[in-house]
């Protein structure tokens, strides 16, 4: 590939491109013919400097680092409309999720809360901890006061298996 990004003079990264392709399996960005149906239905579109079809285009060309570093992949709300409506079965949302996975691997511009979520899952088994709630009459209540049963917890092995699975990939 002989394309050069004129603003950064960077060349496409063929190796990274292959790593992304491996992660998305059946959906091929190469099949995209830029009809822009994904972007026209995207609710996040107005907040994105790079629109979904442009993300697909950059991934197709091999400008992977550029997309990841831009942080734009974290502006997707995962509403899945692009995946539903793509006539070529490219699924921009799956590509964005694959790019997120790669961003985490490379520790590149990942929102801190995403990593904090993982430690909460490891610690408690779930992403949320029980929250106090408040009625419209400003009475504070929790599960117990509402008469709801205790939340289940995963076995002790859970944490070790997740850590092992994370390391294996």
């Amino acid at each position: 590939m002989s394309i050069t990004d004129l603003t950064t003079t960077k060349k496409p990264d063929a190796e990274l491109r292959l790593r992304v392709l491996e992660k998305i399996g059946e959906h091929r960005p190469n099949d995209c013919f830029q009809c822009i149906r994904c972007t026209s239905g995207c609710p996040s579109m107005k907040m994105m400097e790079l629109k979904p079809h442009e993300v697909v285009s950059l991934a197709r060309l091999g400008f992977i680092d550029e997309v990841i570093e831009s942080g734009i992949i974290w502006t997707c709300a995962q509403c899945l409309k692009c995946k539903e409506r793509c006539p070529q079965d490219v699924a921009p949302v799956d590509l964005i999720l694959a790019l997120r996975n790669l961003a985490v691997e490379k520790e590149a511009n990942v929102p801190e809360i995403v990593l904090r979520n993982i430690s909460t899952i490891l610690e408690t088994g779930f992403i949320l901890k029980p929250q106090e709630t408040i009625t419209r009459k400003l009475e504070k209540l929790d599960r117990e006061k509402l008469g709801l049963p205790k939340i289940p917890q995963p076995s002790e092995k859970f944490q070790a298996i997740i850590l092992k699975a994370l390391e294996a990939t």
Binding site: M47, P111, N117, Q131, L148, A165
Partner: protein, 290 residues
């Protein structure tokens, strides 16, 4: 009928009203819930971090559900429903993945045989429970109410995974609302996303989504918005004030779960349905029914 239930994390940790109302209405329709022990996160939050681990996390819960020996699993959270459906898709397709994840499951003495069929509350009420059974349980018809329905993106898309209803023109929730005597009218913003999954990374963006949708529903003159997803419920109900502030609108729209609406029609005590926990002005809606 007995059915195991996987609550996920948003419902049992913050959306108590959804859990309470589901626990109240289902036994009245001869559906008894079986609690699951040892379950963990559905894997959806892990999808952004490591797709492989997210599939393992989903399959782990399905394997635990299978241990009950029952064939169906109720998953009232749309996010968990998507995570499970997607994991099952990969599981069926990819033999290598099946082997690797099978080994991880075996470490806890678990295995998945592919028996379980997953249900969301909406298709369970629409397709599994007989219409007559629902109608028999209704004590108070909700005539005259004009309601807007909101499904939640993840139970209707992507259709390639086999979702509970049509992706562009879902009708099941609307039909369930109409079964109770209320009107469920179409509106152009019906398929718009609530923005909940943006809360982690683009907070203002998330509340712009919810604020704009709420404003549209309110401006069209609906009496209320009926939801069937805990994340959407949280955005439209508990976060209505901040959504309003974000889009510069004055919002005062009753938002409630379908299970709560059904419970009202069944004549169940309002507190038992968690209606005192809704932060949106549901009293306005209740006044119209009383």
């Amino acid at each position: 009928m007995r059915i195991p239930v996987y609550w996920g994390c948003v419902i049992p940790n913050s959306q108590y009203a959804y859990e309470m109302s589901v626990r109240e209405v289902l036994p009245k329709l001869e559906v008894d819930l079986v609690e699951l022990e040892n379950v963990s996160c559905c894997g959806l939050p892990m999808r952004s971090v490591n797709a492989y681990v997210s599939v393992y996390m989903a399959m782990r819960n399905l394997a635990i559900a299978e241990e009950t020996g029952l064939k169906d699993l109720l998953v009232p959270c749309t996010g968990c429903h998507l995570s499970f459906s997607e994991a099952l898709h990969f599981w069926k397709q990819d033999e290598g993945l099946r082997k690797k994840i099978g080994l991880l499951l075996a470490e806890e003495g678990l295995k998945y045989d592919g028996i379980i069929r997953i249900w969301h509350l909406i298709d369970l009420l629409h397709d599994m429970v007989e219409k007559e059974t629902v109608l028999k349980s209704v004590k108070k018809k909700l005539d005259g109410l004009k309601l807007a329905s909101h499904y939640g993106c993840h139970i209707i898309r992507p259709s390639t995974l086999g979702r509970i209803d049509d992706s562009e023109n879902p009708r099941k929730l609307d039909e369930l609302i109409e079964l109770l005597g209320a009107e469920s009218l179409h509106y152009p913003e019906k398929l718009d996303c609530c923005g909940a999954l943006l809360l982690w990374s683009r907070r203002d963006g998330a509340f712009t989504f919810s604020g704009l949708k709420l404003k549209a529903v309110q401006d069209r003159g609906f009496d209320g918005l009926v939801v069937s997803c805990p994340a959407c419920g949280m955005m439209f109900d508990a976060r209505q004030k901040v959504s309003a502030a974000t889009v510069g609108a004055k919002l005062n729209l009753p938002v409630l779960y379908y299970s709560q609406l059904l419970g009202i029609a069944m004549g169940i005590d309002e507190e038992k349905l968690g209606l005192h926990l809704n932060r949106s002005p549901v009293d306005e809606l209740l006044e119209k029914i009383r």
